[in-house]
Structures are given as structure tokens and as C-alpha cells.
Amino acid sequence: MTDPSAASLPTEPFPRSVWPRVAAIALVGYVIYACAQLDVSPARVETGLENAWRFFSRLFPPNFARWELLAKGLKESLEIAVLASALGIVLALPIGLVAARNLMPAWATWPARLIIVAARSFHPVIVAIVFVKAVGFGALAGILALTVASIGFIGKLFTEAIEEISLKQVEAIRATGAPFASVLAFGVLPQVFSRFIGFATYQLDSNLRNSTMVGIVGAGGIGGTLFAAFQRFDYDFVCAILIAIITLIMIGEVLATGVRAIFIGNATLADLLRRGGTAPRERHLEDD
């Protein structure tokens, strides 16, 4: 103890740093400034709350009279989600593999990484706008837009998963003189398979959510019906559509949990029925 002030103990054992306080003040300042910029005032919130009451009273009861339109839209959304996930996963796996720095030379990883970054940087709805122009209105534009989103997401996570594997097993298989394809099949894939199942099911979930939305820009699915009903102030039909979408997404989540339980938790069908499908918890890193 060379500190001469050790004899007189400081009044506070853990002196507070200045920076958190400065940051807190800056944050409060920013909130006030941004609220002023966005025209957020208590009066506006108050009128809004009055509107909210009228709005919700018009949402209920939901009107399922046009259930055929609803079912057709949901079916198309489901098809978009399934096809986009399948296509996206098939395309993302080779791209993600090439982008892995520990297996591939630098000249190969850069273009692959560029593709992944480009695919990730735009929201699927914006990508859908471009595809609507390219292939016209309808489900195909939605499928292509969500395929791009899936390539970005799965490609990124697959690359990260491969970069984290243990190279000992890869070396062992290389040492037996195995060709590159065998190194992949027996050294790399078994190590990343369970994580792959995790994010593939998650992507299916995410595509299902987004496939109900790309219709807003004309790319097929229930979104177009939802937006049209909304613009016609047909709020009880909007409510019916929302209930249907939420139900669909929740069913999708239950199925995804079941698939994770089977592939990661080695469950059988009987186990699933017995436990109601509890899978090992997977951190969802991205959610949209």
C-alpha cells in the first residue's frame, strides 16, 4: 500500500465515475430534443387516446364473414414462407460456407461476405418493392424478396457457426487423406448441424411473419388484403385478419419448437406429445 491517503478512508468506498452521469444528462437532452423534432406533445397523445377508444370499439367484434378471402391470403403467405425458406436455405449454405475464413482463402471469402452484407442491409419489404417491379405483382416477388432476406440471415449465422468450430476434427479427417467433400461432410457439418437447425427454424418463423407483410407493397400474401381493408376503414375485417395472422405465427412457433426438440433434443414423436415440446433454449439473435 503506497497510497498515502489510505489512512483516511474515503467517505465513499466506490467513488462514482462522472461519465455515466454525463451520459444520462445527454440522454435526457436528446429525448427532449427528439420529441420536439417529432412534434410529440402531451396534447397530441391525449387526442390520440380518445381516438384509441373509438378505434378499438370499431375493431371488435372481428368480422369473419369474408373468410374465403382471408383463407386465400393466408394460404399464399404460407406458400411464400415455405418456398422462400427452402430456396433461401439452399442458396445460403454454399455462400455461408465460402464466406467462412477458417476454411476458405481470403479471395473467396470477400465476395461471399459482400453478398451476405448486401442481402442483410435492406428490410424485406424494400427488397420486395424492387422485385415487384422486376417480376410483377404477386407471390413470386414475395418469394424472391424473402429468399434474399434468408440468404443474408442464414448466410451470416452459418458463417459464424463454421468459424467457431474446432479444427481438430477437420485436421483428423484431412490426415486420413479424405477429399474436401468428405472433410465437409464428416468434419464440419456435424459440428454446426444443431445450430443450423436452430436458425433454419427461426428463419422459417421470421419468413412467416414477413410473408404476411410483403403484400403491403403488392408482393402477394395476406398483407395486401390487410392493407386494403385498413384503407377502407374496414376495421372489423382488419381485426379478423390480425387474429388469423397471430394464430398462424403462433402455430408456426410451436412447430419450430417441435422440430428443434426432434433434431437438437433427440426427441421422438411420443416425447413431443408427452412434454408439449420443450426444446433446448436457443438465443434468438435477430428478430424481425
Binding site: D39, G48, F55, V238, M250, I262, N266, D288
Partner: protein, 278 residues
Amino acid sequence: MAATAAPPAARPVAPVGERVWRRFTAGQRLARFAVYLVIVAAIVVSIQSVEIIPEFLYDAPEQMVDLFSRMWPMDWAHYPDTVHDALIETIHIASLGTLLSLVMAMPVGILAAHNLVPSTPLNLLAKLILVSSRSVNSLVWALLFVGIFGPGALAGTLAIAFRSIGFVGKLFGEALEEAQPGPIEALTAAGAPWISRMTFGYWPQVKPAFWSIALFRWDINVRESAVLGLVGAGGIGMALDSALNLFQWERVAVILAAIFAVVIIAELIVTQVRKRVL
């Protein structure tokens, strides 16, 4: 991925040479096979019934060339008068929405953590709030708030905030549940009240997770807030929507470039902050 499942040991043991090693039991193989079957069936049914007009597909390359020729040269003169303000508004929507969601998600996250609130009905209630927040897409939230508050940035901010509650609350609750019980037990033994247990027991343990969740969600929200304007909830999406409706593709190109730049900058900020602070 070392699977540990072995066949049941009750069977008579065959001589070593005749034993067949199988990684999964019959039930497990059946379950896997069922999943594969359902996937293949879903893809086949979808391909057969989805409505794709082949003529549209054939002229897609032409249309793409046409699109890019209309987008080029970009109309940069358009940037200062409308795009810039809309872009700043987008960033405000994302940041304010994230802050608001942090404030709203913290109590829900605490309610969802079983070690903090040992009451299963309350936990389930919190989980229900979190799931419903996550199942409604941010565009739908935006539609609802546009219906309530009218078009504008306020609707967008609230949409971002409500959509983020589920994400932030879920991860925050999980972080709380993973907190070490030792420091909390020590505080309890010293007779510390609830608020001290929170601030000195739990908060230091979940602080890094909390800030990393907040940063991560902000990054996502910057991307999401760019499209909210398509349904009238403010930000750069409104500029994009009007340019699209007027087929001003050279302006659309400027807006897309601006969104791209902001998204990349947001990601760089998040990575840098994470590296320095966390």
C-alpha cells in the same frame, strides 16, 4: 453433436462382430423422417399451388435493366430538400422507440423472470405480453398507431417501441434468470430491501447483457423504421412511398442509397460501442 442416445440395454447382447451400432433409436429416426416428409410435402404442395405467372418471369431481366436505367443517374439534388430531414426523422424514430421500449420492457422482463417473481401466473402473464408484442409485425403495429394517432412520426415511434418490448423483455428476463444467486443471497442475509437487492444484486450482473440487448435492438430498429413510412408512420419510408407512387425511380435510388448508408453506419457504431464499452 455427439448424440448420446443408445438402444435400450435390456436386449440380449449379441457377439461383438454382429452388433449393429445405430446412432438414433427407431422412435427418433421416425420423428426425423416425419419432419423431412412434412418439409418435402410442404414444398411440393406450395410449388404446385402458388400462383406464378410465367410471362412475368420471362421478362424479369429486361425489367431489371429497365429499372436500373431509370434509377441511373441518381437525382442527388433531391437529397437536401426532402430526403435529409426524413432520414434524420427515421433515426429519431428508431432511437426514441428503442428508449421507450427499454422503459416498458424492464418491468415486463422482471415479471417474466421466475427467480425474481416466484409466481407462475404472473410469469405466464408477462410471457403472454412478450409473445403478443413479438407476433405482431412492426408494420402492423404502425398501422394500428396510424389509426389511433394519425399519420406521422409519433405512430412510428410507438410502433417501434411496442414491437421491441417482446424482444428486449424476453432477453432481459432470460438474463435475469441466469443471474448468480450468491450475491442476492448475501444481500438478503444482510437484510437488504427489495430495491437494494435489485440495484446491487441483479443490476450489476445483467448490466452488460442489458446494454448489448439495447444496442442490438437499436440496430434492428434503424432498419425497421425505414419501412414504417410505407404505411404512413413517418420517416424516410414516406419519402420512398411518394417517390414510388410517382415512379420517380432516380429519387427512389437516392433514398435507397441513403437507407443503405444509415444502416451500415448504425452497424459500425454498434460494433465500435460494443468493443469499447462492453
